[in-house]
């Protein structure tokens, strides 16, 4: 469809979540914004192929995800450099304890295989249905479900089993994990 002002506004409205998705995928704020810019350019260049009335965010996420994957193959070696960059993208710095917990979570997320990480983010954070997430990733709905489950169970193992001892002051969670509330 033509690039109407309404469509421009809709595309712009998707930018915040596109950035969040890009940062979650790449772990690097600068690279994420380059990805978003490239996504916007390609989306507008190919706007004629967008079906009016279909899911615009899903269409944009698909473009970004495909760009990330082709980019990722080229720059695999640079990915390890991302430590700490995520925090720099935040405007308000969280408290020290929250920051530590946040860093642990981010580090655990980066340990997931890419397929699992993107599935978990799309369903668990972006709020897409399993069906939309499957369309974005170009795979079956059952595949997305199993990737999300594996991602959750791996995160759980990384964050709450191996290091349950030093994880936050949440006694309820610790009691549940340890089986004894004190």
């Amino acid at each position: 469809m033509p690039l109407t002002n309404e469509l421009r506004d809709d595309i712009l409205a998707s930018v915040p979540s596109l950035r969040a998705f890009a940062i979650s995928l790449s772990g690097n704020g600068d690279r994420a914004d380059d990805l978003v810019q490239e996504t916007l350019l390609r989306a507008i260049a190919n706007i004629d192929s967008f079906q009016p009335g279909s899911n615009l965010p899903a269409w944009l996420f698909t473009i970004l995800r495909n760009l990330f994957r082709s980019d990722y193959r080229k720059r695999r070696r640079e990915v390890e450099d991302a430590e700490g960059n995520y925090a720099k993208t935040l405007k308000s710095q969280p408290s020290q304890a929250a920051h530590l917990e946040f860093e642990e979570f981010r580090a655990a997320l980066e340990k997931l295989p890419q397929d699992q990480r993107e599935a978990l983010i799309l369903v668990g954070a972006s709020g897409f249905s399993y069906e939309d997430a499957a369309a974005i990733c170009g795979c079956a709905v059952g595949t997305i479900k199993s990737r999300v489950n594996r991602a959750r169970s791996k995160l759980s193992a990384l964050l709450y089993v191996d290091s349950a001892e030093d994880f936050g002051p949440d006694n309820t969670v610790r009691a549940v994990i340890g089986g004894n509330g004190g």
Partner: protein, 67 residues
């Protein structure tokens, strides 16, 4: 805690905590809104041709001339 192992399915409370952290991380970025560079980019592009030229050239400023 060495003896503590995941037994069968995931605990619902742990799942909910993971979901909460995931969304907190994501929403921190969403709340930053639309950076100016993207608002300007969308405003500048007249249509698909301008965007395609920018993709090909890799530089939006140089390829979107003729104000």
């Amino acid at each position: 805690m060495k003896e503590v192992k995941k037994q069968g399915g995931l605990n619902a409370e742990i799942q909910s905590r993971i979901g909460h952290q995931l969304r907190a991380m994501y929403d921190d970025v969403v709340r930053q809104g639309v950076p100016d560079r993207f608002a300007e980019l969308i405003r500048k592009l007249d249509g698909p041709e301008a965007a395609a030229a920018a993709v090909a050239g890799g530089d939006t400023d140089k390829n979107n001339g003729g104000d």
